[in-house]
C-alpha cells in the first residue's frame, strides 16, 4: 500500500517536472525571456510535489500510532485499568491483528484487534487521499504562479543546498550518536571501577568478574586487580609498532619505486597487484597469521633455540604490517606523483641525480601527504581486530617480548562481547570503556595528523 502510494508520488513528481518545463517552453515560444533555464521550472514544480509529500509522510509516521492507540484504548477507559495493563492490552491487540498471538483470546481483545485493523486501514486510505490531494493542490498552485519573471532557479538551488546539508548532517549526527552510546556505558563502568585502576592497573582479567555472585556485582572491592588496562594498551601499541616497522619501510619504498623509478608499463601492472593486498579480507590475513606465519616463526625460533609462542605478537604484527603496506604505498605513490614535474626538472637541471632529487626535493615536498598516509596506517593498525583475535592470543600479558603472545584493545572487546552478556554488568561495560579509549586514541592521532600536515603545508606552500 505504502509502496504503491510512493510510486504514485514519484510519478506525480516526474509529471510535474514535465509540466513545469512545458510551461517554460510555452512562455519562451511567446518570445518572452525566461529568468532561468526551462529545466529549473520543472525542478521547481517537482520540489513543490516532494516537500508536501515528505512533510505529510513524516507527520503521519509520528502521529498515526499514537492516535490509533488512543482510539483503540478509549474502549477501556473508565474501567479502572492501570497504564501498564493498558499497554499490555494494546500489545496483545497488535500481535493478534498480525496473527502472531499465542495466548488465550478473549472477546474483548478480539474486538479491539478488529477495531485496530479497521482504524489502520482508514488511516492508510485517508493518508493516500490527503497526500495526493495536497500534492496536486500545491503543484497546481505553483504551476499557476510560475510566469516569465518568477524566480525558479534560486529556490531550486536552495533546495539542493538543503539536501546536501542534510546528508552531511546525517553523517555527523551518527558520529555523535555513537559517541553518546559509548559515553553512558563508560560512565557506568567507571562508577564501579575507579578510573585510576583502569588506567594504571597492570592486571587485566575480565573473566574473573563474570563468575561472581550477582549480589556482589556492585561491590567495587570485588573487582580490584581485574580491569587494569595497561597490559592491553601496551599490547595494542606494541603490535601496532611491529606492524608499522614492517609497513612503513616497505610501503614507502614501494611507493617511491612506483612513482619515480618504475616504467609506465611496470607501474601499470604493479600498482593494481599491490592494491590487491588491500582487498584481502582481514579474516584471511588472520588465518594466514595464525596458521602459517605463527607456526613458521615458532619452528624457526625453536630451531634457533628460542622459545616462541605459537600466537606471538610478532606474527600478528608482521601480518598486520603486510596488510597496511598497500595503504602507505598507494597513498605515498599518489602524493609523490602529484609533486609538480617542474620541481623535478629544476633539480635535474642543477645536475642532481635521481636519488638526490627524490631525497632532497620530492620527499620533503611530499612529506605532509606521506605523514598523513603513515598516520592513517597507524590508526588502521590500532583499530585492526580480526588478525589480533586470531593470531596474537587472548591472554593479556604485559610483555615487550615480540615472541610472546599479547592482546589488544580490539581483541579484548571481541572476547568480552562474544556470546551471552548481561547489560549493566561491569564486564560488559568494560568493552564500552575500551571502545571509548580506542576512539579517543584514534581521535588524538587524527588531530596530530592534521596538525602535522597543516604545519608542513604552511612551510612549503
Amino acid at each position: 500500500m505504502n509502496l504503491i502510494l510512493f510510486t504514485f508520488i514519484v510519478l506525480l513528481g516526474f509529471t510535474s517536472y514535465y509540466f513545469g518545463r512545458k510551461k517554460a517552453y510555452t512562455i519562451q515560444s511567446s518570445n518572452k525571456r525566461l529568468t532561468a533555464l526551462p529545466q529549473f521550472y520543472g525542478y521547481y514544480l517537482a520540489i513543490w510535489c516532494a516537500i508536501p509529500a515528505f512533510i505529510i509522510f513524516s507527520l503521519w509516521a509520528i502521529f498515526e500510532p499514537t492516535i490509533v492507540k488512543l482510539l483503540v484504548l478509549s474502549d477501556y477507559s473508565n474501567q479502572g485499568y492501570l497504564d501498564d495493563e493498558l499497554n499490555l492490552i494494546y500489545e496483545k491487540t497488535k500481535s493478534l491483528s498480525r496473527g502472531q498471538f499465542t495466548g488465550e483470546i478473549t472477546p474483548f481483545i478480539e474486538a479491539s484487534a478488529e477495531k485496530y485493523l479497521s482504524l489502520r486501514s482508514i488511516a492508510q486510505s485517508s493518508k493516500a487521499v490527503i497526500v495526493l490531494s495536497i500534492i496536486i493542490a500545491s503543484v497546481a498552485y505553483a504551476y499557476k504562479r510560475i510566469s516569465s519573471n518568477s524566480r525558479t532557479r534560486e529556490p531550486v538551488e536552495k533546495f539542493l543546498n538543503a539536501v546536501l546539508f542534510t546528508a552531511s548532517l546525517a553523517a555527523i549526527l551518527t558520529t555523535v550518536g555513537i559517541v553518546f552510546s559509548l559515553i553512558f556505558q563508560t560512565i557506568d563502568f567507571f562508577k564501579v571501577i575507579p578510573l585510576f585502576d583502569f588506567v594504571f592497573g597492570t592486571h587485566w582479567y575480565p573473566a574473573k568478574a563474570f563468575v561472581r555472585d550477582s549480589s556482589e556485582a556492585l561491590d567495587p572491592s570485588m573487582y580490584s586487580d581485574t580491569f587494569g588496562a595497561v597490559p592491553i594498551f601496551a599490547g595494542t601499541f606494541f603490535i601496532a609498532f611491529i606492524a608499522m616497522c614492517v609497513a612503513i619501510p616497505i610501503g614507502l619504498m614501494s611507493g617511491i619505486y612506483l612513482a619515480e623509478y618504475a616504467s609506465s608499463k611496470v607501474r601499470q601492472y604493479a600498482k593494481p597487484l599491490i592494491e590487491i593486498l588491500a582487498g584481502i579480507p582481514t579474516v584471511v590475513y588472520g588465518f594466514f597469521a595464525a596458521l602459517t606465519v605463527g607456526p613458521f616463526l615458532k619452528e624457526l625460533g625453536t630451531s634457533m633455540g628460542l622459545e616462541v609462542s605459537a600466537e606471538s605478537a610478532l606474527a600478528a604484527g608482521g601480518v598486520m604490517g603486510i596488510m597496511i603496506i598497500p595503504f602507505i604505498s598507494s597513498l605515498s605513490d599518489d602524493v609523490i606523483t602529484s609533486v609538480p614535474q617542474s620541481l623535478r626538472d629544476g633539480s635535474y637541471a642543477m645536475g642532481a641525480t635521481k636519488s638526490e632529487t627524490i631525497k632532497r626535493v620530492i620527499f620533503p615536498a611530499a612529506l605532509p601527504g606521506i605523514v598523513g598516509s603513515i598516520l592513517l596506517g597507524v590508526s588502521r593498525a590500532i583499530g585492526e581486530t580480526m588478525i589480533v583475535v586470531m593470531a596474537s592470543g587472548l591472554a593479556a600479558n604485559l610483555t615487550l617480548n615480540p615472541l610472546e603472545s599479547t592482546s589488544t584493545i580490539t581483541a579484548q572487546i571481541v572476547v568480552i562481547l562474544i556470546g551471552d552478556q548481561a547489560f549493566g554488568d561491569p564486564k560488559t561495560q568494560a568493552a564500552f570503556a575500551l571502545g571509548m579509549s580506542l576512539f579517543l586514541v584514534t581521535l588524538c592521532l587524527n588531530i596530530v595528523a592534521l596538525r602535522v600536515v597543516k604545519k608542513y603545508r604552511e612551510k612549503y606552500e
Binding site: G346, A349, A352
Partner: protein
Amino acid sequence: MIKIKAKNVDVFYGKKQALYNIGLDIEENQVTALIGPSGCGKSTFLRCLNRMNDVIDICSVKGEILINDFNINDKSCDVVRLREKIGMVFQKPNPFPKTVYENISYGPTIHGMAQSKQEMDEIVETSLKKAALWEEVKDRLHEAGTGLSGGQQQRLCIARAISVRPEVILMDEPCSALDPIATAQIEELIDELKKEHTIIIVTHSMAQAARVSQNTGFFHLGHLIEHGSTDKIFKNPDNTKTQDYITGRFG
C-alpha cells in the same frame, strides 16, 4: 669564440620528428635568442643542450652537440657534470619548497662545492647578489622561497642556476610568467650575466630578443630557418619567412 656547436641534430618524440637537421654555433659570453612560433622546436633544442630531454621517456636525440669541443650526446658524457656546467632557468619559476638559503645551497651541496658553512654562506650571498636579489631577501634567507613574489622567485631560480658557476645558462622563456617590471629587471640581469656566462634564451617576445641578444636563431616547424647577428635578423633577414615572422605577419 664558439662555445657550443650543434651539428645535424634531429629530435624525435616517439615517431614524430620535432627537429630537423639543426646546425647552430653559439658564441661564448654572448646572448643568443631563439625565436619562432609556438611548437616550432626552440624549447626542444634548448633542452638538448643540457640533455634535459633524457627525462622524457619517448624522446630521442640524434646528431652531435659539441660543448668545448666535447660531444655531449656521446656515451662517455656524464650528465651530472654536464648539467653542473650548463644551468637552466625555466618558464615558470620553480623554486624548491625550501628556504631561500636552501634553494641556493642545493646545487653547491650536491656537487660538494663548499667545505664549510662559511664558504656556503659566501656562495649563497654572491649568487643572490649576482641575481640582484640579495638586498630584497637578505633578511629572510630562512623563509620559504615559495613565499617570494613571481619576479623574485624567478631571480631566485637564476641565483640557484649560477650558484654552481655554470659556463652556460639556458633560459626557457624566463619572463613569460612575469609582469613588465620584473621582466625589465631580469633583462638587465641577463645583460650583466653575459660577462661571465654564455646565455641562450628562448623567447616569444621579439622585442625582448632584440633588446637582450647579440645573436638570434629563427625556428619554424622544427627547422632552423635562419641565424645570425640579432641586428641582421631583425633589420635585414635573408629569408622571407623570417621577415614575415618578425614583422608580425604570422606566428
